[in-house]
């Protein structure tokens, strides 16, 4: 074996993706892994320029002159699949060039195009380790993603089942329905008070949502202060509340509660340097007016009474099925 042959055998193992060009730029030898990408006949005997396009450094002429040596090059197969490679060209011992190629970041796709095995890479080449890492990390990420999806689902379910309004700490609509269903099923009488804050939108618009949230929390405390234990206060919308008074059917008592509530809510709330002013319109429905009716019917009656209060000028309360009093405080 001549020295040249021995070198070639060594290079085939050390750099299994190299090409040997003669001084005219014609490929004289292609290392074994490159031959797996293109048949030997498509490489050996052809000019390097005929098989590869030089991407970087961008050639000034087409076809380009001799390959620059000692620089990091980027080349690409001219025919499909147009795999791109990093490359370096260095002078060969007896003239010509040795060009070594390596896969770039697109290696996972390149490996889909070619049936390569670890034997096709030099044992010192970290490509196989990289592929291992890519697959292992993808699998771990996928497992993590599944866990996240399940946790997200669990969080949504928990939220769904929750009975508390996170902003005010009052009951939410779900909790309210539970309370009402229980009362109706047990045949207990009760009163419903539907409260809607007046001018709340103006607070939000003028002073921001922080101020609005503050007013809502304050309103929640006022509503809790006018109710007894056993009553339910629920926030059922942005600035809408429903109060349930089990056992109460006395209009005079309910009127006093409603008037106290309006008076409490009308007290200005200081948020930073601003005084926020709201009021409340209230509709009240009594279960004994339509005995055995489903809770939704009573809520609708309270709602209709609330809108009667609004139409009559806000800041007042109305009993369902009655005329609107001329002034909210008149029954207090």
């Amino acid at each position: 074996m001549t020295g040249q042959d021995a070198l070639r055998v060594a290079l085939d193992r050390l750099c299994p993706m190299h090409l040997w060009l003669d001084p005219g730029g014609v490929i004289r030898h292609a290392a074994p892994t490159l031959v797996k990408l293109r048949p030997r006949t498509a490489l050996v005997g052809h000019g390097f320029d005929a098989a590869f396009r030089l991407l970087r450094p961008r050639p000034c002429s087409e076809p380009p002159g001799a390959l620059p040596t000692g620089l990091r090059l980027q080349v690409q197969f001219r025919d499909a699949p147009a795999t791109a490679f990093n490359a370096i060209a260095l002078p060969a011992p007896a003239g010509g060039l040795i060009v070594n190629l390596g896969f770039r970041m697109t290696m996972p796709e390149a490996l889909r195009d070619y049936p390569l095995t670890s034997a096709d890479f030099a044992p010192t080449d970290p490509t196989v380790e990289m592929l291992f890492l890519i697959e292992a990390k993808s699998a771990a990420m996928e497992a993590q993603r599944h866990l996240n999806l399940r946790l997200q689902g669990a969080a949504l379910a928990a939220e769904e089942q929750a009975q508390t309004d996170p902003l005010t700490g009052l009951k939410n609509l779900r909790a309210l329905h539970d309370v009402l269903s229980r009362l109706v099923n047990d045949g207990d009488c009760f009163a419903l008070m539907h409260v809607d804050l007046d001018h709340f939108k103006a607070v939000n618009d003028s002073f921001g949502h922080d101020a609005g949230d503050h007013v809502l929390r304050k309103a929640a405390r006022i509503m809790q202060s006018v109710t007894r234990e056993g009553d339910t206060v629920a926030r059922i919308g942005g600035d809408e509340f429903l109060l349930v008074f089990p056992g109460r059917q006395d209009r005079a008592r309910l009127s006093r509660i409603a008037a106290r509530l309006i008076a409490g809510l009308e007290r200005p709330v200081r948020v930073r340097d601003h005084l926020c002013r709201v009021s409340a319109s209230i509709g009240i429905a009594l279960s004994r007016d339509i005995p055995g009716a489903p809770p939704d019917d009573l809520i609708r009656r309270a709602d209709a009474a609330l809108y009667a209060s609004k139409r009559a000028g806000r800041g007042r309360f109305t009993f369902a099925g009655t005329a609107v009093p001329p002034d909210g405080a008149s029954l207090a």
Partner: protein, 191 residues
Amino acid sequence: MHGLINKALQAFLTQTYGAALWRRVADDARLGFAGFEAMLTYDPVLTDRVLDAACRALGRDRDGLLEDMGTFLATSPALPGIRRLLRFCGATFEEFLLSLDDLPDRVQLAVPDLRLPTITVEDRGGAFFLVTCQPEWPGFAPVVLGLLRAIADDYGVLALLDPGGDGVIEVRLIDRRFADGRAFRLGAGSA
């Protein structure tokens, strides 16, 4: 114990013996939940209880069951990733065997909080190897034994594998080209 290990045990029991058996085992082991999450960590006591419950339910000894689990991990079509990741470790079975001591590091690269027990491989000459698993996890050696049996088939070699006690596995390579073995290409999405 890392959720991946528990989940692997659950997958092995569910896919080999059915979901009903898994439910019985989970119940008997007083897990308190339906199944393990791969990316959470659990009290090692739970893994132990699941193994005990599975052995009771199936009337099997622990080592035999764990060996089957090792084979399952390397061969189950439901978990093609594991076989692929193992095959990345060597171009030939011998290379694979000699790189087994890298396995804990490789696993940790992928899942930083999963640390497998140390594995050492001794080439005793004459195609005889000793694989030793450190005793951190008592059931680890039988799993590796089952896994090695399956991987030897995958590479197409004929090897005799025997438990040598104390976490040691004796590997005698009889024929390096016994069968064709399964092809392994580096490209993802291939065999």
